[in-house]
Assembly symmetry: C2
Homo-oligomer: 286 residues x 2
């Protein structure tokens, strides 16, 4: 962040230059990694699907027993102010809620709310056209339904991931696949059904949108997926707010399908981009 000299952030009740946004080290995120967050994509000044992200943010906070100090309307006002001030064409708006300044270093106090906005680079056309290799890791997140700030496993695996040439790590506990550290997972079966895991996942907003778009064209299923089935799939892809849809062409040593991004993945990406464009147009009254 130090390079973003002209950006503003919301920090502990105030809008301040991002460079000056600090927390005392007694904050429970620093002391105990305790906090939740959410992340909204802003395109042409419009935060896409904001209500869905706010729903999830408040739900995460509740499940971790943290009270959000601002109402939804107040958060929307802050997001609007930051968007106006920062003037970023494509950006990620991140809301972090921590356990607050803890007196005993363990018990949550009044939660601290931070909202930052940073430029966002979407995956390159080249990356989408080629698809990506991924690796698997035997793991399931601790509280998968909550968007906590705990990414110990995903970050710890970065070295192994880079050494293997994989671009993402797919968690698969006891050979049942669930999700990536920051993305959801889909396959397209040989009969053309679009399938995504049902359990032990964070329910992504992009996952929800893609499921809904897929339902217009294909059969869809939300259920457990075994690793063997992934290896037999015709296509596989990931979804996330920042990556939209990214085709997967290799998993560990095995090629997926033809080793090239599949038709269904590319069609759904087009549909998703159209949906985003419609949303922005509707919001702006175009």
């Amino acid at each position: 962040m130090p390079s973003n000299d002209k950006l503003f952030a919301y920090n502990l009740g105030q809008i301040v230059p991002l460079n000056e946004a600090t927390l005392h080290i007694s904050d429970l995120s620093v002391q105990r990694g305790y906090g939740v967050f959410d992340f909204v994509k802003v395109q042409q000044g419009y935060p896409l699907f904001l209500d869905d992200y706010l729903d999830r943010f408040y739900q995460s906070a509740e499940l971790m027993h943290l009270a959000v100090p601002l109402s939804r309307e107040e958060i929307k006002q802050v997001i609007s102010k930051l968007t106006d001030l920062n003037k970023l064409p494509v950006a990620g708006m991140k809301m972090i809620l921590t356990g607050g300044y803890s007196e005993d270093g363990f018990t949550p106090m009044n939660p601290n709310l931070l909202i930052t906005q940073l430029p966002l680079t979407l995956p390159s056309a080249d990356k989408v056209a080629k698809g990506i290799p991924i690796m698997t890791h035997d793991y399931v997140r601790e509280v998968p339904e909550v968007k906590t700030i705990n990414y110990s496993m995903g970050i710890r695996l970065l070295q192994e991931q880079k050494a293997s040439g994989a671009e993402e790590v797919l968690y698969a506990k006891n050979a049942i696949v669930s999700e990536f550290p920051r993305c959801n997972f889909f396959i397209v079966t040989h009969d053309g059904t679009v399938v995504t895991p049902a359990s032990n996942i964070l329910k992504g907003i992009t996952r929800k949108n893609v499921l809904s778009l897929a339902g217009r064209r294909y059969k869809t299923e939300v259920r457990d997926i075994r690793l063997e089935e992934v290896l037999q799939a015709r296509e596989a892809f990931l979804t996330s707010t920042t990556k939209r849809i990214l085709p997967i062409v290799q998993i560990d040593e095995a090629m997926i399908g033809t080793g090239k991004p599949g038709e269904v993945s590319m069609q759904l990406l087009q549909d998703l981009i159209s949906l985003e464009v419609e949303q922005v147009a509707a919001a702006k009254g175009w």
Copy 2:
């Protein structure tokens, strides 16, 4: 921490008033809960078993792929300076190493090192004499051998714990007990053997010392312990740097032994206190 007006801390290379010790919010502890720490007890100006704690701190850092920016000697000098400045009779010295100021909010950069010293209150004589009730929870820590800052589960369970009247939560995955969020676990079997879990635990320094002290008087075993065996145990206790040995008299709904702290637990507590006194005396040349 806000009440500790006259204390100093080591923060990002400098000794500063604790109240002024801040981190930029781009730190990976705030963004992703990524960091490790360790915690040493300081008695009469002497950090007890410091080398053991430093061994573990450097090992935790290595296992999470974080480089400690200071050498052991430099850390010892900082601890010595803070001890002189803060003049606390009984204190906890906490070293936290975070993933640093991350540019992309995910990839660790140069780690940030914080060292704080706060007053420490040992368990009251009354609490030791009565023993404590505990509850169990089906869980095992993600990377148990590393002292990460991730305490999402332990903190999330605080409400349930308080509602149940339990003072600590014992993790037991598939009915095999492991550890508490911040303490190790021991039982004394009906034949007088002192037993502590072997796997899925953080290897506590107090656990190591108690095992060694117990070996002088009793038979000891380090192995898996099933929950049924705990319910049949003659005594149970926890160990930690801040709590030393605390007898456990109730687990969920079941009474342990006679429902009062046992002989072996109290003997080992006396032995541990003697060991601490010897260490301080030897260090001070008394």
